[in-house]
């Protein structure tokens, strides 16, 4: 009898903690592991050791920005990939609605439509971003990256770097 009530209490507590944890992770902030080199050197700067669970950067993603979708140039965001909704990517916003972006290696200029944004990785040679799939709707964004939490020697706030190339006016 005592063991079943103990088990029941454990189940109730873990269910409660699960609910609270899920709500906090959806509405306040969560921790995300950064894979890949498309945001070097901001995340996962190049070094000699191979990338793995303990050497990848872990960052804090805040979700309070999802109530009013007020983003600006230089924000690093997590978004669902437009090519595959199951994958999430981390890139920097380099263009907001109404901006004109010049497409590299051609004379075209693309105007970012209402409700969309242009995202690019900080490492242009190794980044699959808006230069391949075009502007993405702001609705795909799932959070904004504010701090690096791991590794300990690089813990700190993310800078808002303004775009180097392309036209924004």
């Amino acid at each position: 009898m005592r063991s079943t009530s103990f088990l029941w209490n454990v189940c109730k507590s873990s269910f409660t903690f699960g609910l609270i944890g899920l709500t906090v992770s959806d509405r306040v902030a969560s921790v995300v592991r950064v894979r890949g080199l498309s945001m070097s050197p901001t995340f996962n700067p190049p070094n000699n050791t191979s990338l793995g669970l303990f050497t990848d950067d872990h960052v804090l993603v805040e979700k309070r920005c999802l109530t009013d979708y007020k983003f600006s140039h230089g924000d690093v965001v997590v978004f669902c990939s437009p090519r595959n909704y199951k994958e999430k990517q981390i890139k920097r916003i380099t263009g907001m609605p109404g901006d004109w972006i010049s497409v590299p290696f051609s004379y075209d200029a693309v105007r970012i439509p209402e409700g969309h944004c242009w995202v690019e990785g900080d490492n242009p040679t190794d980044s699959l971003d808006s230069r391949s799939f075009g502007p993405i709707p702001l609705g795909l964004i799932r959070g904004r990256v504010t701090h690096v939490l791991w590794p300990p020697q690089r813990v700190g706030k993310i800078d808002k770097k303004l775009p180097r190339s392309g036209l924004s006016f």
Binding site: I20, L22, T23, C80, Y85, G139, L140
Partner: protein, 160 residues
Amino acid sequence: MFGKWTAIAKESIDRAAIVARFLCLLHVTNTYIFSPTLVYGPSMLPTLNLTGDVVLSEYISHRLGKVGPGDVVLIQSPENPRKMITKRVVAMEGEVVSFLVDPSRSDRSRTVVVPKGHVWIQGDNIYASNDSRNFGPIPYGLIQGKVWCRVWPIDGFGSL
């Protein structure tokens, strides 16, 4: 005397914890399971009324990839991420869509292939609907839920 204040503090913390747990349960249910939604507008006539229907929408199918052509879905508008719109899925990625560009003005029709990771949505009332014919195919990630059945008005009760 001090003991009385600690008892009051403990009881208020307990009550607040119950409210917090309830709010978290409400959030998880409304985001991951199902919730009632008020939908209104002319773009889904005659399926949905102009002045507003309350429908039950579920949030499980789209996470499992089980949304298909013919489903009425709730999506975040690609033109304004704060707005939710209700439309029907007409075609999935890789399929070919033929549609009337502007049926109230001309008979012109176009044919488009839906790119990978996207869906083509249209309102049932093609004369008064701002949908994929205007803003193009939308990424699957913008789908927020699938409409399951209508609960208000009562005489329209039942699955759509």
